[in-house]
């Protein structure tokens, strides 16, 4: 994604892509993972998650498919595409740079 202007959205995209790097997951699973992995620090705004997933899918970064969940329920499961993997690398690099920059400023101040 090239929408660097919107930090919030860009951050959510990064977290989703990173989560799916571990393997295919449905929306609920993604939300749970982000929350758990961040030690409850980050809570995904659930209202933003599904629009983001569909948008990433349209951008070709994810692929969504209907499948049977473990409890016999039909669930839409997303997995990372090759393009999504490349984008993840870019976003991660960007984030690291921003984080380093912010940290430097904070230390300096």
């Amino acid at each position: 994604m090239s929408k660097r202007d919107n930090v919030l959205q860009g951050t959510l995209d990064l977290l989703v892509l990173r989560t799916l790097e571990r393997g295919p997951l449905h929306g609920f699973g993604i939300a749970v993972h982000i929350q758990a992995a961040s030690g409850d620090l980050l809570r995904v705004e659930e209202g933003s998650l599904y629009p983001a997933l569909h948008r990433l899918e349209q951008a070709g970064l994810l692929k969504g498919e209907w499948s049977e969940s473990e409890k016999g329920r039909r669930a839409r499961v997303y997995r990372l595409t090759a393009k999504g993997k490349r984008q993840l690398a870019v976003e991660e690099e960007k984030w690291q740079r921003l984080a380093r920059g912010v940290a430097a400023v904070l230390e300096f101040a």
Binding site: D5, N6, L8, G27, G47, P51, Q58, R76, V105
Partner: protein, 893 residues
């Protein structure tokens, strides 16, 4: 896949909605189970899970948005949002709409005039195949002339490239009143005497009856008439049995053979009836020769023939005639010109100038709206930042802002149409009557389409910059972190630059308009200031035509003229009375060659030519034309007495420079005489127009004019009456006196001489007035723009100004700070505007009279005016800022 997938989703919205519902339902279910596991009751758990997801409807829509082309839906949504925003800011909405209405309205009105006058095709089939033909003379001062009848007949028979060639000449018809003629009043109607082919050339079929036949162009068979639709309706009550009836015109019976379709007129709407030209046989009124060039010629090209081929063929015909008839046709050729061009060409420069001017007005108006939008962007920062933070991407914000602008321009355009209708009405009511087809201008489909396109383009072009600017700042504000990257500072600077650029453009464009209008005003003042050579104040005029049926020869005509003038002179309210064959500024003139005793012109130049007018002895006094040397005509100069002449200054200066003209002899009838002795020199009269320098002119006593000339060329005379009575009263008295001399003749076109002067300046007055109004409009808009920009600056810097004042800054330094802020932009605008004016005003050179298109005084004055206006516009908010109470200013911010 993505594209097709979205397209599919757009086509099958139901399936998509169901899938999204299912996906979200799964999420809620999972989350609810989690909450249940934490110990919540199952319905409470579901509710909480749903709440976490937010408004289900909104979410579903937002999710769906990601999957479809929602462009159209969003557009409507954005437009609605735009309207709502405008309703919440009525001041902003009103200011921008008014500005745009003025800009778009002025454009629409002028473009409707341009469309009707210039762009609309002539109302004949395939008008681009129609051409006007002229005789072209090698002598540059003669140029192109109309054709003589015998030459026209040769053109017609010898050319191989026109499917038909026709000739015509305008004339007046006195329609007698009373029995046998529909019972109407005596009426003067303009008509055309034409060759039968005219209606073939124009491709027009009568709605009743038939066209002329070729054999009707012959004396004795030419007493037939075609009626214009308006005349048929007005005078003959649309009588369906009109064909075959006899109408008395100029005391002669004509049989009506047909009625032309509604809307048809040729050559323009003044002409309402057509009769055949008697080329063959003995004509009583019109000379049939090769030297009297009075026929207009028009032709239709054969299919497949190019204008170049036709011109080459005509040139060959012209060379042949020049060889066969060297006396009349030597050193002449034939030229053709597009009939459309002949018809509308003269109006083009002025109308394009006006179109350019309103284009500039629109630029200033749009720039004003842009700067208003930029100013408001400051106030909307919170709203925009919130939108961005709620997930509105930058592109989305830009689109929304652009849609808002489109709504704004759309409303402005709608209001502009009302304004345009008003302007158009005024222009049609007060515009020059000789601007062809002005009355047909209307806000029709093409004009509306143009207005829509202009508004739409302007909205996109002028809306994009503020939209990008606002959206960019919103994204930064929402980002929060962005400030650490220093982006806010750069966008802030960009914002400032954008505002400054808008201001520069406004000032520059306004200055161009102001300079152009200034030049037009000076030119018009010069025109009104010219020495007319006669005194129009207190002079009235009317025409009388002596039909050949009642006045068979010059003797009868002279006798009538004498009786009429004597009768009028006896009227106590009339101070002086006179008559002429060719009234100044009436469009009537006659060029004639003449000989000077003892002077042989160089062989290749041919005889010199001058205007030739016959006048009565009282004419000069009645017109107020000064006799500079010698004497005027008087009772001595009767028929059979010594032939005498008066010449104007231009004549005396040209042919007897530095020598006395009085007593010299000239002959207007060739070197065999009779010779006329010059008895006086009169002032130069602006005969052909206020902007046309006076040509050499010869005046002869009406009673001494050659009898053949009199009965051919001098049947119509203009009577001039000098009186302190009201023009309407003068006309009524004249009517009474004429009826006493001859009750059958109408008083034709009675009017004060000042009307002729007014008509002569109507077109320059019209364009000067419009150009001036547009320039004032632009200046006002630019003024508001500068005022607004300075005001914005004051609001933005209120805190800073407060601090400065609290620290002891004087009023003067605050004034300087605020006024100085926009000074650079204003000065840059003036410099650019002056340079642009220098480049652009040349295009109006042909419309200027005795003022250079780069007149330094006008340039300086316009720039000074604009600078003063700009200073005032900046001073008002500055002085308010300087009056701020620093405590209040600081507390407020």
């Amino acid at each position: 896949m993505s594209f097709l997938g979205r397209l599919g989703n757009l086509i099958r919205p139901g399936r998509l909605a169901r899938e999204i519902d299912e996906e979200l339902a799964f999420h809620v279910e999972m989350r609810a189970r989690e909450h249940e596991a934490e110990g919540l009751a199952s319905d409470a758990a579901s509710r909480r899970a749903e709440r976490a997801l937010g408004n289900a409807l909104v979410l579903r829509e937002r999710t769906r948005d990601a999957d479809t082309f929602v462009f159209l839906e969003t557009l409507v949504e954005d437009a609605r949002l735009g309207l709502r925003t405008l309703r919440r800011n009525p001041g902003f909405a009103l200011a921008t709409m008014l500005t745009l209405a003025l800009g778009i309205g002025a454009n629409t009105a002028v473009s409707s005039v341009v469309e009707a006058v210039l762009l609309r095709p002539l109302p004949y089939p395939q008008p681009d195949r129609l051409f006007a033909l002229y005789q072209d003379h090698e002598a540059a001062e003669v140029g192109r002339t109309r054709a003589a009848p015998l030459d026209f007949l040769d053109w017609q028979s010898q050319n191989r490239t026109f499917s038909a060639l026709a000739a015509h000449v305008g004339t007046g018809f006195n329609l007698a009143g009373g029995a046998g003629d529909g019972g109407g009043e005596p009426e003067r109607v303009f008509g055309q005497v034409v060759s039968a082919e005219l209606f073939d050339v124009l491709g027009v079929e009568p709605i009743l009856g038939r066209r002329f036949r070729r054999e009707e162009n012959e004396t004795g068979r030419d007493q037939v008439m075609l009626l214009g639709h308006s005349l048929w309706q007005r005078r003959f009550g649309s009588d369906p049995k009109i064909v075959g009836r006899t109408v008395i015109a100029n005391d002669k019976p004509f049989v009506v053979i047909g009625v032309l379709p509604p809307g048809f007129s040729y050559p323009d709407k003044h002409y309402e009836l057509w009769t055949p030209f008697p080329f063959r046989g003995v004509s009583e009124g019109l000379p049939i020769n090769r030297s009297s060039r009075y026929l207009q010629v028009v032709g239709r090209l054969k299919p497949g023939v190019s204008p170049e081929q036709a011109q080459a063929d005509l040139s060959a015909v012209g060379r042949g005639l020049a060889e066969r008839f060297p006396e009349n046709d030597g050193h002449t050729g034939i030229v053709m010109a597009s009939l459309t061009e002949e018809y509308v060409g003269a109006a083009r420069p002025a109308l394009y100038l006006l179109l350019g001017a309103v284009g500039f007005v629109l630029l200033v108006a749009c720039a004003n709206v842009t700067s208003l939008q930029l100013a408001r962007a400051g106030a909307r920062r919170n709203e925009m930042a919130t939108r961005a933070a709620l997930g509105g991407g930058k592109l989305r914000l830009v689109r929304q802002l652009l849609t808002e602008t489109l709504v704004l321009y759309g409303l402005g355009a709608l209001a502009g149409l009302v304004f345009a209708q008003g302007v158009l009405r005024a222009v049609q009511a007060f515009g020059p009557s000789d601007l062809q087809r002005l009355d047909q201008a209307a806000l029709d489909g093409r004009v509306l389409l143009f207005a829509t396109l202009v508004s739409f383009t302007a909205a996109l072009v002028f809306g994009l910059a503020p939209a990008l600017d606002t959206a960019g700042r919103a994204a930064d504000d929402a980002g929060g972190l962005a400030e650490l990257r220093g982006r806010s500072v750069t966008t802030g600077r960009r914002h400032q630059r954008l505002r400054a650029a808008t201001l520069v453009a406004q000032v520059a464009v306004s200055l161009v308009l102001l300079t152009g209008a200034g030049l037009a005003v000076r030119s018009f003042a010069n025109l009104r200031g010219v020495e007319l050579g006669f005194d129009p104040n207190g002079a009235s005029t009317f025409d009388v035509v002596m039909p050949s049926s009642r006045f068979p020869d010059a003797i009868a005509m002279r006798s009538f003229e004498r009786r009429l003038l004597d009768q009028l002179a006896a009227q106590p309210l009339f101070e002086s009375v006179g008559a002429t064959t060719h009234l100044p500024l009436s469009g009537q003139d006659l060029e004639n060659s003449f000989s000077i005793e003892g002077y042989t012109p160089p062989a290749e130049a041919g005889d010199p030519t001058a205007s030739l007018h016959g006048i009565s002895s009282g004419y000069l006094k009645a017109m107020g034309i000064p006799v500079l040397r010698g004497r005027s005509f008087d009772g001595r100069d009767r028929d059979g007495a010594l032939p005498v002449a008066l010449v104007n200054q231009a004549f005396a200066r040209r042919y007897w420079p530095g020598r006395d003209a009085i007593g010299r002899r000239i002959s207007v009838d060739g070197p065999e005489g009779p010779w006329q002795t010059v008895v006086g020199i009169v002032a130069d009269v602006r005969h052909r127009g206020l902007d046309a320098a006076s040509k050499p002119e010869v005046l002869l006593p009406y009673v001494q004019l050659d009898p053949g000339f009199t009965s051919n060329w001098a049947r119509g005379i203009s009577v001039v009456i000098r009186s302190s009575a009201e023009p309407a009263l003068v006309a009524d008295l004249a009517r009474r006196e004429l009826a006493r001399v001859d009750p059958t003749l109408p008083v034709i076109r009675p009017r004060p001489m000042s009307d002729l002067v007014a008509d002569a300046v109507a077109q320059p007055q019209f364009r000067t007035l419009l150009l001036g109004s547009f320039a004032l409009l632009a200046l006002t808009l630019a003024w508001v723009g500068i005022w607004g920009a300075t005001n914005y600056f004051v609001v933005q810097r209120r805190r800073e100004i407060g601090i400065r004042m609290a620290l002891g800054a004087r009023r003067g330094s605050v004034l300087a700070l605020v006024v100085g802020h926009n000074t650079l932009a204003t000065l840059l605008g003036i410099a650019l505007g002056a340079a642009a004016s220098y480049a652009l005003t040349r295009s109006m050179a042909s419309l200027l009279f005795e003022v250079s298109p780069t007149d330094p005084a006008t340039f300086a004055l316009s720039a000074a005016l604009l600078a003063a206006a700009a200073l005032l516009a900046a001073y008002l908010p500055a002085s308010r800022a300087a009056d701020l109470d620093p405590v209040v200013a600081l507390r407020q911010s």
